[in-house]
Amino acid sequence: MYDIDLQSRIPIYEQLYRRIVELAVNGVLPEGTQLPSVRQLAKDLSVNPNTVSKAYQNLERDGVIYSLAGRGSFIGKIEKADVHTDLLKEFDLAVQNVLRVGVSEDKLCDRIHKIAQDSKSGGKENDS
């Protein structure tokens, strides 16, 4: 579930961060799910515990997870999280690139509407 690539250029804590955000956003780890402890995850992944700890700290800072003293870390309410900022930043970059190669604004808007429609009709079981 928390597959990481030790050879990647992306730092390990960042990979863990992104993975947990991804799993929380798409509902694989719903709100309130308890995450493994830093110690446990460090051992499971054979990753430096300080690296895992850094990922958890950043996740907590950004509101993706919250921790309860003595009980561990849990997935928070994703809607409120600063995760949006990161995702939107990626979106902006993608939009800029697409505009640059000459795709029209209208076409882009249509596409967004279509994606929204599709995910509404396809993702009912998640929303209701």
């Binding site: 030790l6 250029r9 992306i10 054979s46 430096n48 515990p49």
Partner: protein, 306 residues
Amino acid sequence: MIELKQVTKKFDDQTILDAISTRIPKGTAFGLIGSNGAGKSTILRLISGVYQTDGGEVLLDGKPIYDIPDQKRRVFFVSDETTQFHSFTIKKLADYYKHFYPRFSYELLETMLKSITLPQHKPLSTFSKGMKRQAITMLGVAARPEYLLLDEAFDGLDPSMRKLIRQILIDRMVEDEMTVIVSTHNLAEINELCDSAALIHDSKIVFSCALDDIRSNLHKLQLGWSTKAPEYSREQFEALGIEILRFEKQHSIYHLVARGEEDQLREKLAPMNPTIFDLIPLTLEEIFIYELEVLGYGCYKFDTEA
């Protein structure tokens, strides 16, 4: 915590370490990297209390280590030199270390020897180079020191053995808060195990900090402009307040190695409005090369990745 304060070490007239200072907090995995003969092993020997400094101090939790048994038994040094153990068996060495290291655990040694099979009743002289390393490393872990020092930690080990050793070290970090200090040429190993590192060059420390800080502060940039782009010079980029370690133009793409965090670099370059803007994190190996190149070490021809 281990502190090196203005530490100087000389052998005859040759200065190996020149007033270096750094801190290694407890519970970290700290990597010592550097070119050949940079002084990595000397630092480990100073920390283990084998060498005396010629200036400055090496402190373990505020107290000196050199020649003080109660301090020295908190540290275990796995040297890359194993000849002194040749006539001993693992079993005999375990008994020997048990005397000096009060927390030595036979159970832990047994557990490790289940995954790493080594003959326990044959002298080390019958072992291969890799087997000797494994044996001493395992004894070091079983001694349960607060600080485990590994010189050329992963030398002569095959990939699956390196992975196993890494797992064992991480396990001890988690269970025992053991601090691991490794010197190696293999930067991939540092990347996989360590959270902080020091780069030693020419008897001095080039940097000593958290690896993530080093990584997030140096980037490779690929920039390009569509139609009729003017020629940009290195100075023009520098005028935007960007420190450039390397500047190269190939065809119409600029390849830069620049200091700064991702957001800062994006912001500073935004006014130039590049069509292609790729920001690539560097590997430790690249950081090593570029940082040393700035200091005039090595003669690498910039080989831009296609």
